[in-house]
Amino acid sequence: MSRYLIPLLLVAIMIPVFIIGLNRDPSELPSPFLNKPAPEFELPRLKDPSRTVGSADYAGQMVLVNVWATWCVGCRQEHAYLLKLASETDIPIYGLNWRDQRSKALAWLSELGDPYIASGFDADGRVGIDWGVYGAPETFLISADGIVLYKHLSPLSEMVWQRNFEPRILAAKGSIE
């Protein structure tokens, strides 16, 4: 009996390891900025290149920074939800228009609506690199003191918002008050 016990035990250990391991999406990497200060940026605004938008604009506020592009399918998918968030929550959303063409991006916003306070135009992806962006859409939740509370790597939706964002927002607000 005991000669089967060890292999059996090993299998019993391996099963949960594989169940967890195989259900994880290997393309979703934890951001090295998690719980650390968010990188700073300053970029020309998408809609008005003569002005800039950057991290200085939202200092002291809890915000979302959403990385988007017109070539990104997931961005189109989450766009309606971003509009909903912009109208129904008090968290400002800043856009990082990543590796895009200005004319296309402007057309996208006028056609689908603009949920952003402002979008920075990162044509050559320089700011994207500073933020460790590797695939749009990406959404950063940044606390009032500039810490990255969470980074989400796929399109936003009601379910994602309730499960991944709301608890962190409540916790962060609770710790301030």
Partner: protein, 143 residues
Amino acid sequence: MKRGWLALFVVVSAGSAYAIDAGIAFDDPQMQARYEKITSEVRCLVCQNQTIKDSNAFLAVDLRREIRRMLTEGKTDAEIYDFLVVRYGDFVLYRPRMSGKTLVLWIAPFLLIVVGGLVAFKVVRGRMAMSIDDDSDSNQATG
């Protein structure tokens, strides 16, 4: 026929070889060598099993540009790898550094060799201790 396919393959693949990272980045062969070494050690995170040297994804193009810039600015290889790890995490390097988080990656192979070796040793020892005259049995068992 076979030769035709081969010729087609060569023509097609030669085209794509030029498309990625066309031209030489540096006149100085030493710099070029460093550039090629670094780009072949950095993972393209959008196309996870390719290096940024082998990919033409936006991210790979941007990272190659940044690496060229840093090399021109006189940054050391270590500084360049640091720049990438700070932004993208350990996974960006094909040879992750030894750190608390990656320690298990480094020691696991040796640990497995030791454990496997011990098991093999015990099994062989056990077999050696068995009497020889049950040959027919063990033949059946191994099929």
